[in-house]
């Protein structure tokens, strides 16, 4: 078959008009920035929602400055949209689409994604879904108040706002479509557009994590798309998929939702671990410890993630006998992730660690995520879940996992790749202030929630003081609310640093962190088409401090002869047979 039309023509001449360069661009770097800024903007929206309902929790009934009194249905809607926005419109775009689009083509040494037009389409469908989710605030009949889990029959009865749920489900469906297209692009690019000489085992770990995350997302979202269609049909066409009176079963949606829900949190965790791995290696000047062990552990975790979902439903009405297998698989899945975390720590062991902001953020991510991970064992064990299910212990657990994943890791990635994106360095002093304030207020916000959870506080209640057993917890509520306010305010130095450094920050060269992966072997910011010469990969991704070499790093595509002292560098990984 003629290869002329099989392979995609290389990215054509650089676009010139403003619209083609910045708005309707097919350049993966521009699309990455579009995803990142949409995600960051929605993070402030999600954060402000949290400020409002946390203020209601700390001082029930008092009008919240900047919002006014929070009614009961309003509270439910704030909680619902906070959950939806933070997962689907902050974590997914920033972690999967933002960093994925920015780094995959650069790291595999190619000019752009496999299907550039599909990539552009995926962003604009995502942008439409962002408008829709914001529109669901003002939908006739009020915003949706069903929790981000949208459990029927609550979500299929007309009670919580006539159109709010429909607009929200449509927004989520469009978001799924956008990420299916993105996933196909990521997989095809990583599989088929690798530079010459780059075998699958020479891919940086970040690319592996994005590949596995895309596969897990793509295969787990399918049944929920069918479930969402059934939900909309129940709301509008009088079908009874989830209506027991018509023979349907509300538990069906719970199973479909969590069959997607739990793999989804791993889809977010994997890119974060990838970002941390890249930064640890560059920071410690040391080869990633157990590269293949981590890749295989991540693949096993991806497979296991499809059979753990019912730990969200131990006491939700499923057959008690189902709890044993799911509790076992849930506890088992902590093993592959403990392998990855041990390997990341072992990467630092024996290194020559340079303090830098990205490394500080990556260490903060791992340190805080560990606490999130171990509290997962409490929820994963069926017996303990009898008490902690739907309690603030669960809320504290998933914030101790998701905030390190969706805030600390992307910030580590942002401080690390900002020089590559813009050609400028971020200011270290502002960065350190931002880091310390964020970590302190994060703990002030969520440590008290562990205590509230153990005290028995159950989720999604607007007024804890209405329950006698929660009255003595009110000081903890106020502490947690002060924490949220502090967390929001401590993002100010970051925004200042971002804007100031982009305009007038010190110029960063092509490789400020002296890293070995291909994304650092092209100019900052990379031109349209990324690499000026054909990239030929000669060694694995993490050749740091090889013996007998003056430089403490050897880029993946560096010619063999270039190394001081001649002689081929002993590649720590399989020399790609070409």
């Amino acid at each position: 078959m003629g290869d002329a039309d099989g392979g995609h023509p290389m990215s054509g001449p650089a676009p010139t008009s403003f619209w083609r360069r910045y708005v309707f661009s097919t350049d993966h770097k521009v699309i990455a920035k579009q995803y990142l800024f949409t995600g960051v903007a929605m993070a402030f929206v999600g954060g402000l929602l949290a400020y409002v309902f946390r203020s209601q929790l700390a001082w029930p009934g008092e009008p919240v400055p900047g919002w006014g009194p929070v009614g009961l249905d309003e509270y439910n809607a704030l909680v619902t949209l906070h959950g939806m926005i933070m997962v689907f419109w902050v974590a997914m775009p920033v972690l999967v689409a933002g960093f994925g689009n920015l780094l995959i083509p650069l790291m595999v040494g190619t000019d752009d994604m496999a299907f550039p037009r599909l990539n552009m389409l995926s962003f604009w469908i995502f942008f439409l879904s962002t408008l829709l989710v914001v529109a669901s605030f003002f939908a006739p009949g009020g915003p949706p108040g069903t929790g981000w889990t949208l459990y029927p029959p609550l979500s299929t009865s007309g009670m919580p706002g006539a159109w709010g749920v429909d607009v929200l489900v449509l927004a989520v469906a469009l978001e799924f479509a956008a990420f299916l297209m993105g996933g196909i692009n990521f997989l095809t690019t990583a599989i088929n557009k690798r530079a010459r000489g780059m075998g699958m085992w020479d891919l940086p770990l970040f690319v592996w994590e994005e590949i596995i995350a895309s596969i897990v997302f793509m295969l787990s979202v399918g049944p929920l798309i069918a479930g969402a269609l059934m939900l909309l049909a129940d709301r509008h066409f009088g079908t009874g998929f989830y209506d027991p009176r018509a023979g349907g079963d509300p538990l069906l949606f719970q199973h479909l939702f969590w069959f997607f829900g739990h793999p989804e949190v791993y889809v977010l965790l994997l890119p974060a671990l990838g970002i941390v791995a890249e930064i640890f290696c560059a920071g410690a000047r040391k080869t990633l410890f157990g590269y293949r062990t981590i890749v295989w552990a991540t693949i096993v975790a991806g497979l296991l993630s499809f059979i753990v979902w019912a730990h969200h439903q131990f006491v939700a009405g499923i057959d008690p006998r189902l709890a044993a297998p799911f509790s076992l698989t849930t506890i088992l899945i902590s093993v592959p992730f403990s392998i990855t975390i041990f390997a990341l720590i072992a990467t630092l062991w024996g290194g020559s660690i340079r303090f830098s902001l990205p490394l500080a953020w990556a260490v903060a991510m791992v340190a805080e995520f560990l606490l999130g991970g171990v509290t997962g064992i409490v929820n994963g064990s069926a017996a303990a879940d009898i008490y902690v299910h739907d309690s603030y212990f669960v809320v504290a657990h998933f914030h101790y996992t998701l905030v390190p994943i969706a805030l600390f890791a992307p910030l580590a990635g942002f401080y690390f790749w900002f020089p590559k994106m813009t050609g400028r360095m971020l200011d270290a002093r502002l960065g350190l202030l931002h880091l310390v304030a964020t970590v302190v207020f994060f703990n002030v916000t969520f440590l008290p929630q562990f205590a509230l959870g153990m005290m028995g506080m159950h989720r999604r209640i607007a007024n804890p003081a209405a329950f006698e057993f929660l009255r003595e917890g009110m000081p903890l509520q106020e502490l947690s609310t002060v924490g949220v306010i502090g967390l929001l305010v401590s993002q100010a130095p970051f925004v200042v640093n971002l804007v100031w450094s982009w305009l007038r920050g010190p110029v960063a060269g092509a490789n400020p962190w002296r890293a070995t992966t291909l994304d650092w072997q092209c100019p900052s910011p990379p031109p349209h088409g990324n690499f000026e010469r054909e990239v030929v990969v000669r060694r694995g991704p993490y050749v740091y401090s090889p013996p007998g070499s003056a430089e403490d790093f050897v880029p993946q595509d560096a010619p063999d002869a270039e190394r001081a002292g001649g002689g081929a560098v002993p590649s720590p990984l399989v020399q790609p047979a070409e």
Partner: protein, 222 residues
Amino acid sequence: MPHHLPEVASTFAPAIDGHIALIYVVCGVWLAAAEIALFWALFRYRRGASPRAAWMPADGARQAAWVLVPAAAVLGFDLFIEWDSARVWAHVKERTPRGNVEVRMTARQFGFDFHYPGPDGRLGTTDDVASRELRVPAGRIVRLEMESADVVHAFYVPELRLKQDIVPGRRIAAWFEPTRPGRYTIACAELCGVAHSLMQAPLLVEPVEAWRRWATQTGAIR
């Protein structure tokens, strides 16, 4: 060790608290070990003290062992926790013993309705006695058969350490044996609509004689 736990008021509450304590101990040790390893590596191998990083070539079995052995230990502890969890879970959830007191409960949007068997001693008959409050004897097994009239609700009493969602279209049983007389609160732990935050009902645990006097006087039981 688990902190801030409410008082114990049911027979299986100590088992659940004990299981949570076991997880705190095991996971606490692993957490401390990992955090210490992380921050010790940062300090010990800082650039000043370690000008050149070690060279660890391709990950052979020996290198992988450094990570697989601790992971195997994690697996071992996990399985131990899982064994203990299964034991407690089976005791609390997988069996619902015949209760000395049988009560049927219907949860609906924003309240709990309790039905006692009534003089004929059988539930579901016309002489059932309805009540907005669950009143039970201490030291006796109470068996609840729960249904929902509209959306998903949950029966939750912190002091009993008991939580059970109720899905419409199913009759779900739960049991507990209260130990300490007193007034407790039943709350709905599953988001069920606008006034979910206000949905609660009183639970009164009385000594057996006082309870029997009340029950026979109101005809709640035979």
